[in-house]
Amino acid sequence: MTVRRIMGTEIEYGISVPGQPGANPMVTSSQIVNAYAARPELSKGGRARWDYEEETPLRDARGFTYTGALYDPAENLADEDSGLANVILTNGARLYVDHAHPEYSTPEVTNPREIVLFDKAGEMTMAEAALRAAHTPGIGPINLYKNNTDNKGASYGAHENYLMSRQTPFADIVAHFTPFLVTRQVFAGAGRIGIGQDASEHRYQISQRADFFEVEVGLETTLKRPIINTRDEPHADAERYRRLHVIIGDANLAEHATFLKTGTASIVLAMIESGAFDGSLGIAEPVAELRAVSHDPTLTHKIELRNGKRLTAVELQQSILEQAEAYCGADADPDTREVLDLWAYVLDALARDPMELADMLDWPAKLSLLDRYRQRENLDWGAAKLQAIDLQYHDVRPEKGLYHRLVARGKMKRLLTDTEIINAMTEPPADTRAFFRGRCLSRYPSEVVAASWDSVIFDVGADSLVRVPMMEPEKGTKAHVGELFERCEAAKDLLDVITAD
């Protein structure tokens, strides 16, 4: 049993032009993406486009299938025709415009620490993109916020993806993952002033997203949002894998929050895959309880289970943790152990006093700031100043964002150094196919005409383009192909080696 699996996050950032609330967000989001694309390592060749082609099954043991066949780019390389900017980064991530927001999708990684690393690299990428945009003639300042709502009725996502076994019945995921998702906000919430989608009631709640979820299961992501999303698009061998698309999280600034959010999710999914849960934690009314938990920062609300029992969200999490400990036992590898230990530490602290975690998790950190400010200025929760603090906590600019100001004062615990994060803005993870994607882009920028999660397409001067599918996310790693990139001066050499095997 391990926390290790293929995973990633995709975060839509809030975007605003000071003084121009009417600015077209599709245009400004494109300006952000294009400004970043002017970075030296991204502007060497022509810009690689996103490949939407559906995949063919795997043949090569390393994860490649050489197609060599005629390939019609016009059908699948659609982004630029739609006018929305897209750029594939040398770390294997994707920066693009989605639903009127700039979005950063991390490369595929294998563990929660790397999720934190690349999720934070995304944040720094956005900060740099905004800085570059501000220095582009004709473009004014554009501000970006890593949050999930404008407090006026709109919400935008912070999604997680977990690759799972196709064997696991979807009904098991619904039954056993729902209680976990409803309650994990006690450590994964990013905090928000305002109750209701339009924040009409002025109180602090734990989660940014809870009030925007309306059903238990479904395919939607933009309205009638479901706790469990049923999208089935594995970006990998569909016979073997399912990609569980989790849409119910908040965007976290705090490194420990992201670490715990994704690490615990991966452990719980591993337990579901091996049938470890008996269903005794089923919640009677998950949607209503999701909100009730979020609306109670004292963490005393009792959730009613289907079997009539009543537990607080922290107690329910403790029960999941106990089962995880029993399940992993002494076999937990170091990465898994690290998650289990932090999970236990955080739940104990939450049970005593959530404010003990004001230096580790987002919602207590923000609440602590707001409370002190509110007391000093004698404000009520509806005050514009407090709402401004709530919003500015999420500002990605190091000099303006209040999360970043806390970090600068040494008031937030970290898992990573800035140097590691800056490195991850350009360097791919070593142990997934993102390594192959990223290296192709940095090594052969002029020859890569397009890429996607499961393909890279080359133009090496032949009559047709060459498409290299990558249906196995754990292949194309540094161990598999690192040496090839050192050896092959040109993309053509690389393709010759791959196809000769």
Partner: protein, 71 residues
């Protein structure tokens, strides 16, 4: 991984408890008073910094942050 020191409220509570356990006689330990004062100053300092970096017109800033819905 578990955290030891921390800022803000929790530290002030914890360090006060520790200090209480250590101190048996002195009603007002000057060291505690000093630490408490330092803590208060630090909080004030943080709130002052918020005032400095906060967007100038809070009402206008909050009102004009209007997003199109996303996923």
């Amino acid at each position: 991984m578990a955290a030891k020191d921390s800022g803000g409220q929790s530290q002030s509570q914890r360090s006060r408890q520790e200090a209480d356990a250590e101190t048996t006689e002195a009603a007002v330990d000057p060291e505690i008073a000093e630490r408490h004062e330092a803590m208060t100053e630090e909080v004030d300092d943080l709130l002052d910094e918020i005032d400095e970096v906060l967007e100038t017109n809070s009402e206008e800033f909050v009102r004009s942050f209007v997003q199109k819905g996303g996923q």
